[in-house]
Amino acid sequence: MSTLLIDNVSRWFGNVVAVNDVSMTVGPGVTGLLGPNGAGKSTLINMMGGFLAPSTGTVTLDGATVWRNEGVYRHIGIVPEREAMYDFLTGREFVRANAELHGLGAKEAQHALATVEMEYAQDRKIATYSKGMRQRVKMASALVHQPSVLLLDEPFNGMDPRQRMQLMELLRRMGAEGRTVLFSSHILEEVEQLAAHIEVVVAGRHAASGDFRKIRRLMTDRPHRYLVRSSDDRALAAALIADPSTAGIEVDLKEGALRVQAVDFGRFTTLLPRVARAHGIRLLTVSPSDESLESVFSYLVTA
């Protein structure tokens, strides 16, 4: 059982602040590190993995500083996001080399390859592997010493659905065994399927932490904005504002559309077509204007 402690960590590159005063504790089980692209997830994972010094603050594994301490790698396994591997080796040679660097041998390497179901292609050069196969061999190289902490940077990128399910199952199993598994992702659904506990980072800041369902509710309950065009905008506006699920409506003359702010997402989505029909209004456009992940996340920052 191992715990990673990130304590008041900031990291800047020149004038750019990549991670801004983040504190979090990552304990046994599966934790999802969620955030849009460029939020600082990789920077955080690099600091957790000892490949980047925090500008301020500390990252420790069970009390031991991670930075400049190669001893921690007895307990940490890392699956980097970058593709580069030793492409001139076969999968088996690569995992074997990783095992040897841990003072282990062929037996452990073979076991790791079996765990990720890559034995069938182990004697092919890594250069010939697909992205999903590379990902699995990387995974084998990180598992070879049975680490108590596993850090994975965007591990599902480039995997097909079946491989994705297999990896999720493996990570779930590792979490259930009491290992500390942390993976980053910018895809909500991925995190939802795998991690009960999530840490959300937005623009380098720690936006939310805790149970996934609570955070998900926060995300869906936030005010939603829609752009609506209809055969009679003003009549529609009058009908919508009468319902409590609508918080505000603006008639955008320039766009020739309504900007609707809904507070109760579920109720509003059934209300809109019903109201339109009842008043004989034709809906021409209904488009959410803030559905991007970034806006979902930035809502969390202010929530």
Binding site: I78, R82, A84
Partner: protein, 239 residues
Amino acid sequence: MYNPTVARLTYRGLLGRRRAFILFALPALLIAISVVIRLLTGADDDTAANVLGGFALATMVPLIGVVAGTGAIGPEIDDGSVVYLLSKPVKRPTIIFTKLVVAVGVTAAFSAVPTLIAGFILNGNSQQIAVAYAVAAAVASVAYSAIFLLLGTVTRHAVVAGLVYALVWESLFGSLISGARTLSVQQWSLALAQRIGADGAITSDVGLPLALVLLVGVTTLATWYAGQKLRGLTLAGEE
């Protein structure tokens, strides 16, 4: 201090990359030149010293040193695959020392050995010229490998920096400014060659004791510092 797995990954990486063709091309060129000269002019000690000193030691050894020294670590740092070495409980100086051993081995194999062969072709080792230059090439291989390995850990433009050092500093400045010669790996190794060769056959601008101190000092310092750089190596993310 020496890790056979790191060594295996390093030498396979070195000989497996495209730039490795330089490792084969330059020695082949040296031997071809030697054969042609021998056929055209016959055995001549001055010519032998000129070819071995002017081409083998001054140009070929540093170029091969650049390829092997920077190639032993630079590409791994560039593409990020070094993460698989660094995420292991292996001491960073051990990684550097092992890579140095491999780089020295490759540089020496592709420079000292061909120099010896070329020397025998040129004048049959008369006045010990072939052996002297081969030893100088081997000794220079050690210092060059350490210097270029360090460059590989401190800059992403290690090959360019290495080429500038090898060609501009060692070849150009060395021939124009006498002071620069004191700080030249080539001159340090020539000091050793001078001792091995017959009297007057080979000359160096640096005395042997100073040359040995500088060779050992630079190699040790560069290796130590590369280990320190690797300990604090930062892998920036994709973001």
